[in-house]
């Protein structure tokens, strides 16, 4: 069975005829070509596929595209500021070396962005708790926590345009 789904992704309306079983992550990657959202474990454990659904962090490998009809999705491609500057969170990951291989990074940034939207000044413990659904096999998490703290301390960061 195919269905017509309309989803606003990174502020742009998208509409496609898709199979009912299409997962949101496949809609993003394969139908829209937004491959910044990664498939890691594919079992809703690792968090690499985390995107924002109406501002809340969700694992897009465990949501059907059909379920988010008429919703707003933000992916890593939509994380930057309007002028093209990195968001404070993206810059935090750059400044604090919050990544090594980069595979978990889009999910980490989206989950951390959702955290700061709700709690702009989290403690280390709150950051670790908020990121318990995101696995990183490189960093040991220390630099990721530092990256989120950097973003919390620089909420008005802007580089004044695209890099």
């Amino acid at each position: 069975m195919t269905i017509r789904t309309s989803i606003t992704v990174n502020g742009k309306e998208t509409s496609r005829e898709v199979e009912a079983r299409t997962l949101l992550v496949h809609y993003l990657r394969e139908d829209l070509g937004l491959t910044g959202t990664h498939v890691g474990c594919d079992t809703s454990n690792c968090g690499a596929c985390t995107v924002l659904l109406d501002g809340e962090a969700v694992k897009s490998c465990t949501v059907l595209a059909a379920q988010v009809h008429d919703c707003n999705i933000t992916t890593i491609e939509g994380a930057a500021q309007a002028d093209g500057s990195f968001s404070p969170m993206q810059e935090g990951f750059r400044q604090e070396h919050g990544l090594q291989c980069g595979y978990c990074t889009p999910g980490m940034i989206m989950a951390s962005t959702a955290l700061l939207a709700e709690n702009p000044n989290p403690t280390e413990e709150e950051i670790r708790h908020a990121l318990e659904g995101n696995l990183c096999r490189c960093t040991g998490y220390e630099m990721i926590v530092n990256a989120v703290r950097w973003a919390a301390e620089h909420p008005n960061f802007t580089s004044g345009g695209a890099k």
Binding site: M1, A20, R21, A57, K59, G133
Partner: protein
Amino acid sequence: MIPAQFDYVEATSVADAIRLLAEHGDEAKLLAGGHSLIPLMKLRLVTPATLIDVTHIKELSYIKEDGNNIVIGALTRHRDVELSELVKKHLPLVAHVAGEVGDPQVRNRGTIGGSLVHGDPAADLPAAALATGATMVVVGQNGERRIAAQDFFIDFLETAVQPGEILTAIEFPKHTNAGWAYEKFVRRAMDYAIVGVALQLGSQPGVALVNMSNKPHLAESASQAIAKGAAISDVLAVINNNTNPPEDLNATVEYRQHLARVLTQRAFATASK
């Protein structure tokens, strides 16, 4: 991993969901948050012919006070239960346990009703429902039924909800100002419990165990002992009565029973603080 093909229909109200269930028969499954069902479908352990999406039935997402009860709509998300001032005040055990489910992304999607009807013995919320003495409200073509939590869980992933019925609400008796604790033993932060203990003290005490049986498990002997004011050692002596824990990579039967005793003891220590 991609689910097998299915037909997708969206229900806009409880009446609509019941009509669609009748129309599509027992090859249909209700889809709420999807965080139990979709993983099973991706593994092709479940291959429903039709998914009836109830995600957008707004009338089933609420938390309200009703006399001596707090009533939670079946589609209320874990995150909303966790953060609700009403639940934190009158059912702190339930609010805390909702915050222990999975991780933030899972709690943003998963619903309390979905977790309960899934009937997983390793899940957190069924234990909270058992320990607090909750009642499930189930609606079908023949009207409404109320089922006590201890009669609701039948077997592994099987509940008293019949084909054609939908869980609409959960009624929890208030446990305001009573001691409580949830002890969850895990190897990684967002894992299912290897063993968990949900303890509710006060005038209607109860203790329920996670992953200690083929279904969510109310420790009846231990609950009765607590109600009679028994010493903790006497509660611990019967905590494993009628348990039937699984044996897997994480733990043997004996180790799980040991954990149940240790975690119950810890729960008492935490609850009395």
